[in-house]
């Protein structure tokens, strides 16, 4: 008979690799911060962080939306244009006709849930479905707001203006979001089922759980956090345009993966994703500005940073296996 475990010597190395992996999100954030501090020491201050992380919260929320989808072994390529659409609704209907706005946003969450059901029932690849939906959301956004404009509701702007002593608002908000999602997905008993649906769907079905329900719940949560992301974005920018969330799709996926998540296998970490999103937010613009990289090249530089960080991640996970 085979021996139960003959991998004792390898276990130390595995544990070390796992530790590196767990701290990699924090490490990359520290690296980016160190680079910023070195380039511009004055940025490391209450005011500096408030300014640099100004747009971080919408990115964090979009990343969390993507995290739910990835938990179930799917991928959402429409989250960016969905955020744009929500932004346009927020800056127009939610301000002018609040009930219509609220109803529209609720309906949008329901559409997300329905997409989850469609993907499960018809066994469709989520990449195809959400890529198609990204054009639908984009089109609706343009229909609502052909030219940039609109106005954020006053109560929403009040949120963004709120400030804490000593710790900038974006950091407090990011930690709060991380804690709430960690509790919901990692601590509750149904959260374990949701993650299990990504880990071994067949086993879950055999134990009598509905995979349709888990998929619908995960997509509905993604839609809900997508709505929060769009509203948070408009609370800061105070007006919208139809392309305001473009770029969020990539940032959100990168945030989840940078935060220690895997594309398949239901392996995700909410706190890691929040840290990953903050890293992406800082690397996306403040760092590059301080490096005096012209705006024309910033998107390319962004991509380069992403590749470097993800390559480091891949290297660590290979060691772990």
């Amino acid at each position: 008979m085979p021996v139960t475990s003959a991998r004792k010597p390898a276990q130390g190395a595995t544990a070390r690799a796992r530790l590196i992996r767990a701290w990699l999100p924090t490490l990359s954030l520290a690296l980016v911060l160190a680079a910023i501090a070195w380039l511009n020491p004055r940025a490391i201050s209450y005011f500096g962080f408030s300014l640099m992380l100004n747009l971080a919260i919408p990115i964090v929320l979009a990343t969390i939306a993507q995290l739910f989808v990835i938990s179930g072994n799917e991928l959402d390529l429409s989250i960016g244009s969905f955020v744009s659409f929500v932004g346009c609704v927020t800056a127009t209907w939610l301000n002018d006709a609040p009930w219509l706005g609220i109803a529209t946003l609720l309906a949008a969450v329901c559409v997300y849930a329905a997409l989850g059901a469609l993907i499960y029932l018809r066994n469709l690849p989520s990449i195809v479905v959400t890529l198609g939906m990204s054009f639908v959301w984009q089109g609706l956004a343009i229909l609502m707001l052909p030219t940039p404009g609109g106005k954020a509701p006053a109560w929403l702007q009040g949120f963004a203006a709120f400030s804490f002593p000593f710790v900038p608002l974006p950091i407090v908000a990011a930690l709060a979001i991380g804690a709430i999602v960690h509790f919901g997905l990692m601590q509750t008993s149904y959260g374990a089922i949701l993650r299990g649906s990504g880990g071994n769907p067949a086993a879950l079905a055999r134990a009598g759980w509905s995979l349709l329900k888990t998929k619908v719940v995960l997509f509905a949560l993604a839609g809900f956090f997508g709505v929060l992301s769009g509203m948070a974005l408009i609370s800061i920018t105070t007006s919208a345009d139809a392309n305001i969330g473009s770029g969020y799709t990539l940032l959100a996926i990168a945030g989840v993966i940078l935060g220690g998540g895997e594309f398949v296998g239901g392996r995700v970490s909410p706190f890691g994703a929040v840290v990953g999103a903050l890293t992406m937010a800082l690397a996306a613009s403040p760092l590059l500005t301080f490096m005096k990289i012209p705006p024309d090249w910033q998107v390319a530089a962004n991509g380069a940073i992403l590749i470097v960080v993800l390559a480091a991640r891949a290297l660590v996970s290979r060691r772990e296996d």
Partner: protein, 490 residues
């Protein structure tokens, strides 16, 4: 069925189950009473797994009746079986690797919820692990992916015995000790005896006949989808079990006509030693030989074939290959056929270098090659330019043979290629193999069908990834192969 005082926990009556043309169960009567451990044994494809799946509610029988506690079940389902106290530990692990041991326990117990569920789940599984495997070192908070395969199996078994809301009367253990070491296996079997002594029941499926003889109260032997024998354990011994599994009647005449003189030893083509082989045994194949790889499914035969296939391109320790190699895949849908291509393209892909004309593939040579093989092995189609999916399953398999044989490979590896192929096609392919072997080609043939070993010059029997027997042509009997596959030597 034997009359008992209480109704059996489960009773199957004349249950039949067909998969297409394959008759997995042909009128099986089977029951388990309270307080007994039933050993269920049989060779590959004897119908054990199907029987268990029917019991567990995962498969609906085509015909026959299922009764639980004496009540006939009209709509037998997985959740229904669970509610009536039946649990299964399936052979492939059904834990979520990304969840902790406690979280995996929660999956099987919907009532573990609300405040403190994690602590209660951890307590539940830890207590059961302590009870079954005293001295184990599994932490309930650890993720399953961080556990060794043996510890995963311990968790899986222990989880099946945990009780919250639903009753527990019968546990089906399918090869429960396959990943356990001797110590933990003994702990588990001792627990099973205690469990049964307390009035509960167990079905023990194992290829270790000693394990079954020592721990079961009653043994049911399956063969070709039927119950071949069922009796109290005292009525059997190791040899009689082997005899019943293989069938008592003499060997069929299938191989007799194919007897051909053993050729004198020619050039050696392949020499390979399985990774886990402790003694000096190795697989050797010469030019013009048909070498069989036998044993229970999944005991290392495919792994060795793939290792030999790899070794043709780059060196691998313990394996020598000195001629081009081609592989005929067993699972043609996933590993063999290009579903969007024509028959000719599917055949030609194995010989692209020869079909080239400048930088392009010559359509004419490709069609000529395909037509040659179409005639040679009788692929039933109007036109080789038709899509490959227009063929029946057996003819698709012939296309894969044509691809391998049409190439310049001198060694052909076959990974149980006759799965789900009709008898007529099989006979045609057997003839073809014999022809090609006579021309000097070497065949390594993994098969789960004992009849096919009649066509081999030599047979290696595998167990747990190792060669346990090397039978010459005149020694190959069904009984010997089964004997080696089920041998208890550790």
């Amino acid at each position: 069925m034997t009359p008992r005082l209480a109704p059996p926990i489960v009773g199957l009556e004349a249950v039949e189950k067909h998969f297409g043309a394959v008759r997995a169960l042909e009128g099986v009567d089977f029951d388990v009473a309270a307080g007994e451990c039933v050993g269920l044994i049989g060779h590959n494809g004897a119908g054990k797994s199907t029987l268990v799946q029917v019991l567990a509610g995962a498969l609906a029988p085509d015909r026959g009746r299922i009764a639980m506690h004496g009540v006939v079940q009209e709509h037998h389902s997985v959740t229904g079986a669970q509610r009536l106290g039946i649990r299964c530990v399936f052979q492939e692990l059904s834990l979520c690797p990304n969840l902790s041991v406690a979280e995996n326990t929660r999956i099987n117990h919907p009532s573990l919820r609300g405040f403190g569920w994690r602590r209660r789940a951890a307590r539940l599984i830890a207590d059961k692990l302590d009870e079954i495997f005293p001295g184990h070192d599994v932490d309930a908070a650890v993720d399953v992916r961080d556990l060794s395969i043996g510890r995963r199996q311990m968790v899986e078994v222990a989880r099946a015995f945990t009780i919250t809301h639903d009753p527990l009367d019968l546990v089906v253990l399918d090869e429960p000790t396959s990943s356990l070491d001797a110590h933990t296996a003994a702990q588990l079997l001792a627990f099973v005896r205690r469990f049964v002594a307390a009035g509960k029941s167990c079905i023990l499926i194992s290829h270790l006949l000693g394990e079954v003889l020592k721990n079961a109260d009653r043994i049911v032997v399956m063969r070709d989808g039927k119950v071949a024998a069922a009796n109290a354990v005292g009525a059997f011994d190791h040899d009689s079990l082997v005899a019943v599994m293989g069938g008592a009647e003499g060997r069929s005449a299938a191989g007799a006509g194919s007897a051909r003189p053993r050729r004198e030893m020619r050039a050696r083509r392949v020499r390979a030693r399985p990774v886990g082989q402790k003694d000096g045994a190795e697989l050797v194949a010469h030019e013009g030989e048909v070498v069989g790889l036998a044993g229970l499914a999944g005991h290392g035969q495919t792994d060795l074939l793939l290792a030999i296939f790899d070794a043709a391109d780059r060196r691998r320790p313990g394996i020598e290959v000195d001629a081009p190699v081609a592989l005929v895949a067993g699972d043609r849908q996933s590993d063999g056929i290009f579903p969007l291509w024509s028959i000719a393209e599917n055949v030609g892909i194995g010989s692209l270098a020869r079909l080239r004309q400048g930088m392009l593939i010559s359509a004419r040579s490709e069609a000529a090659l395909a037509q040659h093989w179409q005639r040679r092995i009788n692929i039933r189609t109007r036109d080789v330019q038709d899509n490959v999916l227009s063929l029946s399953g057996g003819n698709q398999q012939k296309v894969l043979f044509a691809r391998a044989l049409g190439s310049d490979a001198r060694i052909i590896l076959m990974d149980d290629p006759m799965r789900g192929v009709d008898v007529g096609t099989k006979r045609e392919v057997y003839d073809l193999l014999r022809d090609e072997a006579a021309k000097g080609r070497t065949f390594l043939w993994y098969t789960t069908e004992l009849d096919e070993l009649d066509h081999c010059d030599r047979v290696y029997v595998f167990r747990n990834g190792r060669i346990v027997a090397n039978l010459e042509r005149n020694e190959v009997t069904e009984e010997k192969v089964i004997q080696s596959s089920f041998s208890d030597a550790h």
